[in-house]
C-alpha cells in the first residue's frame, strides 16, 4: 500500500507575541520581544521574575455555544490549545460544527483526529492553597481534616482541569473530531512528535485530517520554581527582560519560562486539493531519537554532542530525500540553557558541515520556552517563513556560544525563497526530534 500524502492547510499559534501565525510573525519581523515581568503571579520573591505570557482572552467567546459550559474546566494549558486550534481552523477555512453548527461541514468527523502534546500540568496553586486553608491545624496542613471534608472546597470536576489529555479532548469536542486522538507527553519535543505522528496517521490511511501540535503554560509558579531549583532559568536579567532569553549566545544564563501553543492542520492531499484549500507545504521528513547522557546520572543534561539529535536530523533528511545543502532554513530548539545549546549547536554543525551558510533562526529570544508548545510554535513560524519568503532576525545572539559557526540570522531579517526547512527539538529528559517541511510542488 503506497503511503498517502498529507499537506499542511492551516496553521495557528498563540504565544507572548500574540494570537495567530501572522501576529507573531509580524511582531518578529518588527523586532518585538514578548518577554516581560511576570503577571500571572507575583514573582518578586522568585529568582526569575520574567516570563513570556500570552494574551488574556475571554474563552467563552472563543468556543461554540454548545461548549461554553466547559470553559470553566479549561486550565491555562487547555486555553492555549483551544486558542491555537481556533487560529489554525480559521486559517484552514474548514467548515466544522464549530463555525457552522447547522452545516454543511467540510470534514468527515469519524476520519478527523487531534494529537496535541501536553506537559505535566500543575494545578492552580492559588485555588489549591485557598482550599487547603480550610484544613490546617495550628497552621500546618492536616490530612485528616482534608479527607474528612476539607477537600470539598475543591470543585467536583477539579481533576479534569489538569489531565494532559484534556487539551485534545476539548478540541475534539469543539470541532467534532472522532478519529484518532492522542496526547504526546515528551516535554519540549511533544509538539513536533505530535505533528510527526499525525503525518504518519494520514500516510497510513487512519485519518483524512488531523489537528496536531502542542500547548503548555510554563508560567505557573510551580513550573518556574522547578526551573529555578534545577538552575536552568535565567535569574540575572530581571531588569533587562528584552535581553533575558539568549539562545546560542555565549552570554546566555538560562531559559525563560513561557506559555503558548501551536496547531498545524494536516489533510490528505487529494481531499485538500479537491476543496481548493490553500496548501502551505508538506512534511517530507520526520524522525525522533534520544539524547542519551551516558556518563552522568543526571538525565537532564544532554550528551555533549547531542548524538541523538544528529541521528534524528540525518534520518529526517534521508526520509525527505535531501541533503543539508538543500535546506533553506533551520529552526533549532535553542532553549537558552547553555548545556543544551552547546550540545545542539555541535549536532547542527556536524550535520550542516557542508552547508554552514544555511540561515538559522533561533526563536526563543522572542517569547521564551513554552514547554510542550515550544516545538509546534517553531514549526508554525518555519511554515510562515516559507510562505512569506522572509526569515525574522535572531535576536540576543551576537556572540554565538563556543565559536559556533552556524549562520544565525543575527544581523536582521533575511529575504530568501524557502523550499525546505528543518525544525529540531530537544526535551529536558532526552526526547529529540527533527522534521523537514517542504514546499509542495
Amino acid at each position: 500500500m503506497p503511503n498517502r500524502r498529507s499537506v499542511i492547510t492551516g496553521i495557528g499559534l498563540v504565544n507572548a507575541l500574540g494570537i495567530g501565525k501572522d501576529a507573531c510573525f509580524d511582531a518578529m519581523l518588527n523586532g518585538a520581544i514578548g518577554i516581560k515581568p511576570t503577571v500571572a503571579f507575583s514573582a518578586k520573591d522568585f529568582p526569575c521574575q520574567l516570563a513570556g505570557e500570552a494574551p488574556e482572552v475571554k474563552m467563552n467567546q472563543m468556543v461554540p455555544k454548545s461548549h461554553r459550559k466547559s470553559v470553566k474546566l479549561m486550565s491555562r494549558d487547555i486555553e492555549m490549545a483551544v486558542l491555537a486550534a481556533d487560529a489554525a481552523m480559521q486559517d484552514s477555512k474548514l467548515n466544522t460544527r464549530a463555525n457552522n453548527p447547522e452545516g454543511p461541514i467540510d470534514i468527515d468527523p469519524t476520519r478527523s483526529g487531534v494529537i496535541i502534546g501536553a506537559g505535566s500540568m500543575c494545578c492552580d496553586l492559588a485555588e489549591l492553597s485557598q482550599a487547603v486553608s480550610t484544613s490546617l491545624t495550628d497552621g500546618v496542613f492536616d490530612l485528616k481534616k482534608w479527607g474528612a471534608g476539607g477537600m470539598e472546597s475543591l470543585t467536583p470536576l477539579w481533576l479534569l482541569k489538569y489531565l494532559p489529555n484534556m487539551l485534545s479532548c476539548h478540541v475534539s469536542i469543539i470541532y467534532d473530531l472522532q478519529g484518532p486522538s492522542n496526547c504526546i507527553t515528551c516535554g519540549e519535543s511533544s509538539g513536533l512528535m505530535s505533528i510527526g505522528e499525525a503525518h504518519r496517521q494520514i500516510a497510513r490511511g487512519k485519518a483524512d485530517m488531523i489537528l496536531a501540535g502542542g500547548a503548555e503554560s510554563k508560567v505557573n509558579a510551580m513550573c518556574v520554581m522547578r526551573m529555578c531549583l534545577k538552575k536552568f532559568i535565567n535569574t540575572s536579567s530581571n531588569d533587562t527582560p528584552e535581553k533575558a532569553s539568549r539562545p546560542f549566545d555565549s552570554d546566555s544564563k538560562g531559559m525563560i519560562s513561557a506559555e503558548g501553543g501551536a496547531i498545524v492542520i494536516l489533510e490528505d492531499r487529494e481531499k485538500a486539493t479537491a476543496r481548493g484549500a490553500k496548501i502551505y507545504g508538506e512534511i517530507t521528513g520526520f524522525a525522533s531519537s534520544f539524547n542519551q547522557s551516558l556518563d552522568s546520572t543526571d538525565l537532564f543534561i544532554p550528551e555533549i554532542d547531542c548524538q541523538g539529535t544528529r541521528t534524528a536530523i540525518e534520518n529526517a533528511l534521508a526520509m525527505a530525500g535531501i541533503t543539508a545543502k538543500d535546506l533553506d532554513l533551520v529552526v533549532p530548539h535553542g532553549c537558552g540553557v547553555p548545556a543544551y545549546d552547546k550540545a545542539e549547536a555541535k549536532a547542527l554543525e556536524t550535520v550542516l558541515k557542508d552547508a554552514l551558510d544555511v540561515p538559522v533562526l533561533a526563536t526563543k529570544s522572542r517569547f521564551g520556552l513554552a514547554g510542550a508548545g515550544a516545538s509546534a510554535i517553531d514549526a508554525v513560524i518555519a511554515i510562515t517563513a516559507m510562505e512569506r519568503g522572509i526569515i525574522p532576525a535572531t535576536l540576543n545572539c551576537e556572540k554565538p556560544i563556543d565559536g559556533c559557526k552556524l549562520n544565525f540570522t543575527n544581523k536582521g531579517n533575511v529575504t530568501r525563497t524557502i523550499k525546505h526547512v528543518l525544525i529540531t527539538s530537544v526535551s529536558m529528559g532526552g526526547q529529540t526530534s527533527a522534521m523537514v517541511i517542504s514546499k509542495t510542488e
Partner: protein, 438 residues
C-alpha cells in the same frame, strides 16, 4: 506488505505480583490486590482503600548499576523500569544496545503510556498551606516561594514530568530510536501499544518497549477521583469493592503499577531466535468528541475503536475468543462498554466471553491497558481466561458473559482488549496466537 509485529517480552509490577507468573497465578486463583491504603493516611477520606504495590524487593533484583543510576526516579518510573527490565530479559536483548553492533540501536525505541510522577506531597502541600492569606483573600506568593524553594528538590520535581519513565528506559537500554510517551488517561498504555505497533509496521522502528506505569495513590490523586465520585467508597467490604458489571457497583478502585511489553518486527524476532509470545494484529483509536465529563450515551466512540481494530485485523466478531474489558466498575463505563460490544458484535456478543481483571487488580489508570494485555497473552498461552470476580448479580443492562467468579478453560487464540479514557479517548487492541503463516 505490512510488516508483522510480534510480542517477544513482557513484565509487570502490580498489586498482585512483581512478575507475570505470580500475577497470573493470583488472578486465576481469584485473589484480590485491594487493601487499606498505606501510602498515605486515607483514614478520613471517602475512599480509604486501594490496590498498592507492596514490598519493593523487586527493585533490589535489578542490577546494581541500574539501581544506583536511577535511584532518584519517581515511583512511576521505578515501577516502569522494573517491569521493562523483566520484559527486556525475556526478549533476550543485550543488556544495553550501547557499544554493540548486533542490533541497530537507532531502530529500537520506546513508546509508553505513562503517567506523571506522584507529587512530593508533604513539601508541596506545606507550601500551599503557608500561602493563603485569609485577611486579603489572596495568595501570598512570597510565602509560597519561600517554603517551596527551601523544601522542594530539583530531582524530585523534575522526575515528575510524564516524559521521564520513557527517558529512563531509553537510557538504561541504550536506545536511539523514537522515544515516545503519551498520556490519554485510562487508555494511555493501550494507545501506546497500538501506536508502537504502527511505528514498527511503518518501518520507523524494529523493536519498541511499550506499556506504561502510573501511581495516583497519593493524597491529591485520590482527592481528584473522590471529588469526581468515580471511586468506590465501599470501605466496609474492601475486598469486594471492585465490582465490574455488578448491579450495585459503586465506582472503580485506584491501583498502581507498571507493565511492559516488547514489540518486535517479525523478521527481527525470528532472526534473533526470540520466543514469540503472540502477535499484535489489530488496533483502533477514536474519540467520543462528546463531553468532557461523560461518555457518549450510545458508546459510539468505543464502538468505532472496536470496529477499526477488527477491520485492521481483518477479523469478524466471531474470530474473537475473549475480550478483556475496560470494565472499571463505574455505573457509566460498564453499561456503555456492554452497549459498545453489543453494537459491534450483534448476537455474537452473547457468545463471547468477557472479563474485567480490574475486579481483582483495581484500576492502574495509564498502566491498566498494558497490564490487561499481558493477561491476554497468558490467556492465549495457557488457554484459560481470567474471571470477573465479585459478580453475583449482574446489572440488568450488563447481560453478557462476563466469566463470573471463576476462570474458564477454553481454546483462546484471539483476544481483544479495550481501554476507554476520561475525556473520551478509546483504544482497542487485538492480539493473536502466533503462527508463522499469517
Amino acid at each position: 506488505m505490512t510488516r508483522r509485529v510480534v510480542i517477544t517480552g513482557m513484565g509487570t509490577v502490580n498489586p498482585l505480583g512483581h512478575d507475570v507468573e505470580t500475577t497470573w497465578k493470583n488472578l486465576l486463583e481469584c485473589r484480590c490486590g485491594i487493601e487499606m491504603t498505606e501510602l498515605f493516611d486515607a483514614s478520613t477520606y471517602p475512599t480509604k482503600f486501594s490496590a498498592e504495590v507492596k514490598d519493593w524487593s523487586f527493585w533490589d533484583k535489578l542490577p546494581q548499576e541500574i539501581q544506583e543510576k536511577h535511584k532518584n526516579a519517581a515511583r512511576n518510573s521505578k515501577l516502569m523500569i522494573a517491569a521493562a527490565y523483566q520484559a527486556w530479559q525475556q526478549a533476550k536483548l543485550p543488556a544495553s544496545l550501547n557499544g554493540q553492533d548486533q542490533i541497530n540501536a537507532g531502530k529500537v525505541g520506546v513508546y509508553l503510556g505513562a503517567g506523571e510522577g506522584p507529587v512530593d506531597f508533604d513539601n508541596f502541600i506545606a507550601a500551599a498551606a503557608a500561602s493563603w492569606d485569609n485577611t486579603t483573600n489572596s495568595m501570598a506568593w512570597d510565602k509560597w516561594a519561600q517554603v517551596a524553594s527551601s523544601r522542594l528538590s530539583a530531582e524530585k520535581e523534575i522526575e515528575q514530568e510524564p516524559n521521564m519513565p520513557a527517558a529512563h528506559l531509553a537510557s538504561i537500554f541504550g536506545l536511539r530510536g523514537p522515544c515516545y510517551s503519551c498520556l490519554t488517561a485510562c487508555a494511555a498504555s493501550t494507545q501506546a501499544i497500538g501506536e508502537a505497533t504502527e511505528l514498527i509496521r511503518n518501518g520507523q522502528a524494529d523493536i519498541l518497549v511499550t506499556g506504561g506505569a502510573h501511581s495516583m495513590i497519593h493524597p491529591l490523586g485520590v482527592t481528584g477521583f473522590n471529588r469526581l465520585t468515580a471511586l468506590s467508597t465501599r470501605n466496609d467490604d474492601i475486598k469486594t469493592s471492585s465490582r465490574p458489571f455488578e448491579i450495585d457497583r459503586d465506582g472503580f478502585v485506584m491501583a498502581e503499577g507498571g507493565s511492559a511489553i516488547i514489540l518486535e518486527e517479525l523478521e527481527s524476532a525470528l532472526k534473533r531466535g526470540a520466543t514469540i509470545l503472540a502477535e499484535v494484529v489489530g488496533y483502533g483509536s477514536t474519540a467520543d468528541a462528546f463531553r468532557i465529563t461523560d461518555q457518549h450515551e450510545t458508546g459510539r466512540g468505543g464502538a468505532a475503536a472496536v470496529k477499526l481494530a477488527l477491520e485492521d485485523a481483518g477479523m469478524k466478531p466471531e474470530d474473537i475468543d475473549y475480550i478483556s474489558a475496560h470494565g472499571t466498575g463505574t455505573s457509566e463505563n460498564d453499561k456503555i462498554e456492554t452497549l459498545v460490544i453489543k453494537s459491534v458484535f450483534g448476537e455474537q456478543a452473547y457468545k463471547t466471553p468477557i472479563s474485567s481483571v480490574k475486579s481483582m487488580l483495581g484500576h492502574l489508570i495509564a498502566a491498566a491497558g498494558a497490564t490487561e494485555l499481558i493477561t491476554c497473552i497468558t490467556a492465549i498461552r495457557d488457554n484459560i481466561m481470567p474471571p470477573t470476580t465479585n459478580l453475583k448479580t449482574p446489572a440488568p443492562e450488563c447481560d453478557l458473559d462476563y466469566i463470573p467468579n471463576a476462570p474458564r478453560k477454553a481454546q483462546v487464540d484471539v483476544c481483544m482488549s479495550n481501554s476507554f479514557g476520561f475525556g473520551g479517548q478509546n483504544n482497542t487492541i487485538i492480539i493473536k496466537k502466533f503462527s508463522r503463516d499469517a
